[in-house]
Symmetry: C2
Subunit: 346 residues, 2 copies
Amino acid sequence: MVDFNDNSHRRYNILTGEWVLVSPHRTKRPWQGKEEKIVREIRPSYNAKCYLCPGNERAGGHINEDYTKPWSFVNDFAALKKDVPLSKFKSGLLKAESESGICKVVCFSPDHSLTLPVMRVEAIDDVIALWQKEFKKLSDKADINHIQIFENKGDLMGCSNPHPHGQIWAQRTIPQEVAKKNKQLREYWQNNHSSLLGDYIKEEQELKERVISENENFIALVPYWAVWPYEVMIAPKKQHRNILTLNSEERLDYARIIKAVTIKYDNLFKISFPYSSGIHQAPTDGQDWESWHFHMSFYPPLLRSATVKKFMVGYEMFATPQRDITAEMAAETLRNLSDIHYSNLQ
Amino acid sequence: MVDFNDNSHRRYNILTGEWVLVSPHRTKRPWQGKEEKIVREIRPSYNAKCYLCPGNERAGGHINEDYTKPWSFVNDFAALKKDVPLSKFKSGLLKAESESGICKVVCFSPDHSLTLPVMRVEAIDDVIALWQKEFKKLSDKADINHIQIFENKGDLMGCSNPHPHGQIWAQRTIPQEVAKKNKQLREYWQNNHSSLLGDYIKEEQELKERVISENENFIALVPYWAVWPYEVMIAPKKQHRNILTLNSEERLDYARIIKAVTIKYDNLFKISFPYSSGIHQAPTDGQDWESWHFHMSFYPPLLRSATVKKFMVGYEMFATPQRDITAEMAAETLRNLSDIHYSNLQ
Ligand SMILES: O=P(O)(O)O[C@H]1O[C@H](CO)[C@@H](O)[C@H](O)[C@H]1O
Ligand SMILES: O=P(O)(O)O[C@H]1O[C@H](CO)[C@@H](O)[C@H](O)[C@H]1O
């Protein structure tokens, strides 16, 4: 048997049916490339120039509510718009169709200085409650068949405003990353009459080596097939198709584990850790997605330090995703980090 | 019919079977996010500290040849290694297998100061000749079933050394981006007995609106389904499965069009334009890939200016790739740029 801790190998992603190339021996390579700039800014709780702070004016002339809890509004520069009639185009080998949807911005807190890891658990719980409310409202619309909740955190991830916020893009068609999971989850359900992700979680709970945090209702782990160096998945142990069916104790546990994971992230390089996170849930197309098991993933770009990121470039774009450190190494590092935010330890 | 120049829509990629979301109206959005640093350095023809310059020592103690033409060597920190025996692992829902291969570095020129757009056509022709030689040598090996030739250009694309160079990663398995194209090309061939890409090129030659450069044997266009803002594809008009069957006149035309495209790129924002490029060719797994039609794609990260890039983040990672400007707008901009490099116009 080849030692996978020291030899290149491919790992299979059971949720997408795709592979990732792992090259553990490559961590020895010296780095002479780009170093990112770290901005260690201390932000005020209110910034008069921030278009997300309560009461301020946004581009386009709208005035923000004087919100005191998580608050959402329709994106002023939405990539998706309502009321675009369905229109299909085909000419020779060119094929396109109109797409409609709704893009919303979700402010996590009125306090400009905060981020999820330094928010109180109850305040994160309020964010989840708003996600639930939005998910419910959007899923009730006939022409919304998929709802993507996500956060881009940090300017490395294209985030244009440090005010704590995420987004929701809801649309008519099922996006391709979700379509892959639909297929894998459904196939497993048909063959085994149980949740693919639920069974995977049980396996990881026994093995322990990729688990980084756990509470009664939720688990956080580095998936066996992780692509990004410190990729993490959070999932409920019990099968929930989407976030709507969480009871209040489960929702609190969800808030607790989001806080735990993002604290570990910040502690890794002692910076406000950049990432994109997203929640994959059952489509809202009226089908009975009994195989679905919602989960939240974090894709952070950093690899070696606060300033050296993993580039998903030539080979990764043209061939297949590639990583250097193994999922087990990343999990061990994250697991061993403190559960107390570094800013409280200084 | 909805106007696709002003409304969000999805376009179908005939080569991968996937979709891209296009939001043309979103170009009006103001940008308040990250601005990249531009480094306008004038490099010397030889740099004593560069580990790719002729005669210099590399990390690991190897001494570079005193090369005067394009030159290649095995990557000292290769992600793939030869002689890893095939070994499969399966335990519950965990599935992996060893991967073997060869990673090479291809220096395009001994001259440290050059890049493809400012090299002479004959010198680019020499690079293609070396790609051919490497492709031939690697494809003859029994355990090499796919060969990925690519270039990461610029530190924005994770390139750690500005010396003009690219890479080749050759491996046992077929990477997933190529597997998608295998499927689409083969299906079309079975139904139509002609090259999917060849037929597409004919259509674009008639429509003209996405073509940016052309010579007798090659065409360069912004594909209808382009993901990156200024994505470009170069392909031979006649069907070639890989670069080996190009005759000397075709090879020169290939060199000419690489120069033409990369000059336009540099002229766009008057900088040395970053991108990842890659050549997709028929797998070398011994199967008769009669449906294959090789092509080279350029994925550049910049969107609005030399300092503002397109971020493929939250929505794009979790749902589907998204772009703002349409392929037609990008093609018009690129087509209208001068064919003479800006450094020669000043
Ligand atoms: O091989 P290099 O130039 O050291 O590394 C660069 O290209 C590789 C292949 O696309 C990527 O895996 C690396 O993330 C990137 O930094
Ligand atoms: O919507 P924002 O924050 O303006 O934009 C950011 O997130 C979007 C959704 O992932 C991306 O399409 C943009 O490239 C990115 O800059």
